[in-house]
Amino acid sequence: MIGEHLAALQVVVPLMAAPIIVLVRRGAFAWALTMVVSIASLAIALALLVQVREVGVVSYALGSWAPPWGIEYRVDIVNAFVLVLIGLLATIGGPYAWRSFAAEVPEDQHYLGYAMFCLCLAGLLGIAITGDAFNLFVFLEISSLSTYVLIALGRERRALVASYQYLIMGTIGATFYVIGVGLLFLMTGTLNLHDLATRLGDVAHARPVLAALAFVTVGISLKLALFPLHFWLPNAYAYAPSVVSAFLAGTATKVAIYVLLRFYFTVFGKSEIFDSLPTQDIFLVLSVAAMFVASAAAAYQENLKHLLAYSSLGQIGYITLGIALANQAGLTGAIVHLFNHGVTKSALFLLAGCIWFRVHSLRFADLAGLARVMPLTCAGFVVGGLSLIGVPATAGFVTKWYLVLGALETGHWWIVFLPVVSSLIAVWYVWRFVEAAYFREPGPALIGIKEAPPILLLPAYVLVALTVYFGLDTSFTVGTASRAAEVLLGGLR
């Protein structure tokens, strides 16, 4: 009975939790309910993944209005994978949020923070699960609006400005997206993604479809912080509360990438639109720029969270590079990196939060000699950093393997060396942390500092362990990603 409605419950559970939390107005209750909701989301996502592995596609007609008239929730292997990632990171973030919120957010705002977290979770899950282009916009805005609030909860006043800037950019992005969808609706009369895909075949070459593609691309690229549309991201991640940074870094941009994949391969895949635009080349150039420029910018940051944020921009470049390659290996690399980088970067942000919790600063100057007083935190950070570099036996290595393989398949030798050369920049910025933490004498800021409390360290370490685990046993990640790539490429002519 419940099995039939899993797709709806995936969104409804966190969505309902938010108003309940607001009504009860208790921090502890809010936290407990958020925990329950997060775990339920992960469980439902896993159940859905198991289902789609068996049957291929789970389609759920919301309110029993048959698609394409009603809103359809449509789960295949691609978004089931994304749902699992979101559920996983929410579940990990839950226990961490307790101490993180206590330290960084005024107590009377705790329950509101948790309500926003639930809304954000519902929005992100909704984006991933829905099969309706306009419904996707609504979820996009639900997640975005709650995200703005979560970022504004940050302890510094700069968080407010960061949130405001994100609001402007995010709204422009979402509006561009909805303009694109509007044009598609005008041309086809449908909003169902699957239906759109079939009907677009008949109207290919029409100029509004081209315009729609451009609007959707720019809008989503803003949300996924594709270089050079990334200006909102570093400050937003840097000044948000730790647990929020960690959750967003792992999910928000990743979900946007999923939307891009869905539109490029499922919706526009069957039309001839791509032949008339050099989309692939544009993405290739922008990815390369992100991989090199943003990564290099990371190496010059003074604040650890800024460093991680810029590193995220570079890592997003890997994902879009895989999308630009548009072959089985490249796309597998992109999807697996979407997951692996989500896990790794969340771990790193959680550990950065651990450092802030004790040191109350994330500036490199204050982190000198940190490894003496917080050895576990630093060790975990180094492991996560190695994954960013792509050292074998970490999750990051898997990506690089597939990206290089995908590049080899295109036959362009210069592309082959791009991902590997840019990972050297990651060595550079990761080693800045290593040298600061391990090779300098502890400064006055570190006197009396202890290791972070277990409740903060444990969730981070779960993700660090997963980073290593998914580097060694890739049957789940690569297995799912390569099937997802097959599904997406199957959408192509």
């Binding site: 036996a393 050297l424 080693w431 060694l472 046993d473 890739t474 390569s482």
Partner: protein
């Protein structure tokens, strides 16, 4: 113990040892006892495998799939067997030496040191027994990272700089070139297993073969083929036992081992013999041999001179393998062992001199042979071996390399070897001469030999250097199996 159990033991013992050493951190005696015990057990496990491998056994172990179609797998063949024997055998001696050196010089962070050392040996065993390129690569990178804390052991500005160069060169080459080479191989051949005769077959064109070979040869930065040799002298900032580990036991040996392994088991000697697009390799190796020797000749710092000597000697192995003649392959394999025992002797001697007399420059060594006769005698044995004078191990490998070059009519290689022998003599013999026949400078502080553990280690490796000349059967037999020659 069954071969499979011994294989598992050889891989697991160093890691378990590292764990126990970390737990025993507060009790130095216990910690060092565990180190020694681990080293001995590891050697026994490896040694117990030797008869089986000599008889043609090839134990293998597949753990799990890293990527679809790519297993984390181990398979022992003669080359890996020899490398594992050398590394695990020298680790025992090195541990004895480390205990003496670290205590005498009152080094800090000794627990970290011993843990990383054991970890490095674990990675080395995984390299030696790797059954395919992906396993090799994994262990190769692990070795780089686990030796980083050893190289930067002193933690000062100089160590940090040395560490940067070390990591920079090794990670850059391995990620940018080696990894791409491995993926290319996988893409072309559909496998990365090490198989006799190679796996590339005729999948690749002439130019692509040459290109792929370049990716591997420069990608394996640990083999220090010029111009990717700079990390080796930079890593000299480390304590002497670490230098010994880098130069003799694990790191550079892992490099040349991988070179030989790739040439023999990935490319296949017969596949690429006579291919004009791979001719650059013997040329580059020759260039490295000569240039590095000249730099060694001009270095006054003893450890730096030894480091460049290593760069030069490593290219002996590369050159020998690149000659693609069966007898020279035997020489290449044997030289891995011969250079290991000789060079570790030289480093131990340099460390002993530093510990006892606090001298680091060649020009300070006048007359030191009178105060430290045992040390300098051992140094002389190591030097003679590397010059290639019997009765020392270095002679045997040189003999085979020259025979291989002569048999395949590669006169250029013979000339390079002769010139380099002269250069070796030119940078080693003056040290020996000065130590024994020049008077010590006036006002020199009185000192005797280094502490006993250091001397024991020193004499042991010097004895091994000579023993390897007289009892060369087992390594030669293994080497002949690698080259595909009848026993």
């Amino acid at each position: 113990m069954s071969p499979l159990a011994a294989l598992v033991a050889a891989l697991a013992i160093p890691l378990i040892g590292a764990l126990l050493i970390a737990m025993a951190g507060r009790a130095p005696n216990l910690r060092e006892a565990i180190t020694l015990l681990t080293a001995v057990l590891l050697f026994l496990a490896v040694a117990s495998l030797t008869p089986h491998v000599l008889a043609g056994g090839r134990p293998q172990l597949a753990l799990f799939q890293i990527l679809p179609g790519l297993l984390l797998a181990f398979r022992i063949e003669p080359l890996g067997m020899l490398f594992a024997l050398v590394a695990s055998g020298l680790w025992i001696v090195n541990s004895i030496y480390s205990i003496g050196y670290m205590r005498a010089n009152r080094e800090e962070h000794q627990t970290r040191f011993y843990v990383c050392f054991a970890g490095a040996l674990g990675a080395t065993m995984a390299i030696a027994f790797a059954g395919n390129l992906i396993t090799l690569f994994l262990a190769y990178e692990a070795l780089t990272l686990i030796t980083y804390p050893l190289v930067t052991h002193h933690g000062d500005e100089e160590a940090k700089r040395g560490g940067r160069v070390y990591l920079g060169y090794l990670l850059t080459t391995s990620i940018v070139l080696l990894l791409v080479g491995i993926i290319f191989t996988w893409n072309v051949a559909g496998t990365t297993d090490f198989l006799p005769g190679g796996i590339l077959g005729d999948h690749l064109g002439k130019a692509a073969t040459g290109g792929l070979l370049a990716l591997f040869m420069f990608g394996i930065g640990k083999a220090a083929l010029m111009p990717v040799h700079r990390w080796l002298p930079a890593a000299m900032v480390a304590p002497t036992p670490v230098s010994a580990l880098l130069h003799a036991v694990a790191v550079v040996k892992a490099g040349v081992f991988s070179v030989v392994k790739v040439i023999v088991y990935i490319f296949g000697v017969e596949n690429i013999a006579g291919l004009s697009s791979v001719d650059w390799l013997p040329f580059m190796a020759s260039l490295t041999i000569i240039l590095a020797s000249i730099i060694a000749l001009r270095s006054d710092n003893l450890k730096r001179r030894l480091a460049y000597s290593t760069v030069s000697q490593l290219s002996y192995v590369v050159l020998a393998a690149a000659l693609l003649a069966p007898l020279s392959i035997v020489g290449a394999v044997f030289h891995i062992a011969a250079h290991a025992v000789s060079k570790i002797t030289l480093f131990f001697a340099a460390g002993a001199i530093y510990t006892a007399a606090h001298k680091t420059e060649v020009s300070q060594l006048d007359g030191i042979g009178r105060r430290m006769p045992v040390t300098m005698a051992a140094f002389t044995v190591g030097a003679l071996s590397l010059i290639g004078i019997p009765p020392a191990a270095g002679f045997v490998s040189k003999w085979y390399i020259v025979s291989g070059a002569a048999a395949s009519g590669q006169i250029g290689a013979i000339i390079v070897l002769v010139v380099s022998t002269l250069l070796n003599a030119a940078y080693f013999l003056p040290i020996v001469y000065a130590a024994f026949f020049r008077p010590p400078p006036a006002g020199d502080a009185a000192h005797g030999e280094a502490p006993i553990p250091i001397l024991i280690a020193l004499v042991a490796t010097a004895a091994m250097t000579v023993a390897l000349f007289f009892f060369a059967d087992v390594p030669l037999q293994l080497a002949r199996q690698v080259a595909g020659l009848p026993d």
